[in-house]
């Protein structure tokens, strides 16, 4: 069995509001808000990196878990904005935490990376014990603040999140997960070498609006849980309008979906864990009902994960 033990997050201090990003990209601040729900985002300082943000989030998560870095058996790091083709940031984050020797695996699969990491951690924790999943992104350096790229530049922000998956104990048991990939649409959202991030927004929205609700429904149905019984939906924060569409498709109140995209923008793979960390802070008591985590992004990769509190009953 595997349990969710704690979450953590780190956001750079510099706040970039819509007025500032609109001026830099030749667009309209009100349009950004209307099209995405984003009011502001954070940008990393010049001396910050995927590594440094990830280390901060990891330490915050370990502190929330009441564990030391030496208690980690495996480190999984998701990032789509790493500074090097290789090595990825996983081993550097491990070294920064002082856990040299602990296996550290990179998951360079963008927005769905942290969800994939959590699902893999659930399967691997019986072998490795405490698995720390870190997602760290400096998206401000892979988009271009230029009118020609304004549709993507206004959406993204920087930040990092972390999740501790334990084989021993936690506030919720990871019951099941469902992951999927489809390379037919790989070109629709990509970061080529020496080019800014490219996104065919219409294709991505079309695909996401269908795939996210469907994977959640499939996961819930096979675990005999109704969408209305889910306590909280913690999902990748890509676009507020998309989250609204997913809630409508599932016929659940929108306020069951935790949302913080207004303050941080789309932080790619970090967004799911930043949202989970903030949700966890705001809900210190154990969840009363099932939790759904879901993400969708470049690849295409998407999926969902179901966790239930210990009080929810025996395994289904």
């Amino acid at each position: 069995m595997a349990y969710l033990r704690a979450f953590g997050a780190y956001l750079p201090s510099r706040v970039v509001d819509n007025r500032e990003i609109a001026a830099a990209t030749g667009t309209d601040a009100e349009y950004i808000l209307r099209a995405s729900g984003i009011e502001q985002r954070r940008f990393a300082a010049p001396d910050e990196s995927v590594r440094s943000l990830g280390i901060h989030a990891a330490r915050n998560c370990l502190e929330n878990a009441g564990l030391a870095a030496r208690d980690i058996g495996l480190l999984l790091v998701s990032s789509s904005s790493a500074e090097h083709r290789f090595p990825g940031p996983a081993s550097a984050i491990g070294a920064g935490l002082g856990v040299q020797g602990v296996p550290a695996i990179d998951l360079p699969i963008a927005s769905a990376g942290s969800l994939f990491g959590m699902a893999l951690a659930a399967h691997l924790s019986p072998v490795y014990g405490n698995v720390l999943v870190v997602a760290s992104e400096v998206m401000s350096r892979v988009v271009k603040c230029h009118p020609a790229h304004r549709d993507t530049a206004v959406l993204f922000g920087d930040g990092a999140g972390a999740c501790l998956v334990s084989s021993a104990t936690g506030f919720a048991e990871i019951r099941d997960s469902l992951l999927a990939s489809d390379g037919d649409f790989a070109a629709a959202l990509r970061l080529d070498l020496d080019a800014p991030l490219y996104m065919d927004g219409r294709t991505i929205i079309l695909q996401a609006a269908r795939k996210i609700p469907r994977v959640i429904v499939e996961l819930l149905e096979r675990n005999r849980v109704k969408p209305w019984a889910v306590d909280a939906f913690l999902v990748h924060q890509a676009n507020l309008n998309l989250i609204t569409r997913v809630a409508q498709a599932l016929a659940v109140p929108e306020d069951r979906f935790f949302r913080n995209i207004q303050r941080y923008g789309n932080t790619s793979s970090a967004s799911l864990l930043i949202a989970a960390a903030e949700w966890s802070q705001q809900h210190p008591s154990p969840a009363a009902g099932p939790l759904i985590f879901a993400a969708f992004g470049a690849g295409l990769h998407w999926g969902a994960l179901l966790a239930t509190p210990q009080s929810f009953g025996p395994p289904l």
């Binding site: 294709t203 929205i205 079309l206 609006a209 269908r210 998309l242």
Partner: protein, 77 residues
């Protein structure tokens, strides 16, 4: 009602105004539909024409104009 008339009715309902572009003009470039209205339109087309549009066909190009939508619906009928 013809297929095209039904498609125009769906587009006008989603955009909230009478259609002011020709059948071959882009519904996106002319700002008749945005990304989310496109998503809603796909669902409305499935319902109206009793078809299932597979994920592999979910590309904006197939739904970029009234003529393209009509051709697609024809191909699925």
């Amino acid at each position: 009602m013809t297929k095209q008339a039904k498609i125009i009715e769906i587009v006008e309902k989603l955009s909230g105004k009478p259609l002011a572009v020709g059948p071959d003009e882009s519904l996106f470039e002319s700002e008749v539909l945005d990304s989310f209205a496109l998503t809603d339109m796909v669902g409305a087309l499935e319902k109206e024409f009793s078809i299932r549009i597979p994920d592999s066909d979910l590309t904006p190009r197939k739904f970029d104009s009234i003529a393209r939508i009509e051709a697609y619906i024809e191909s699925r009928s």
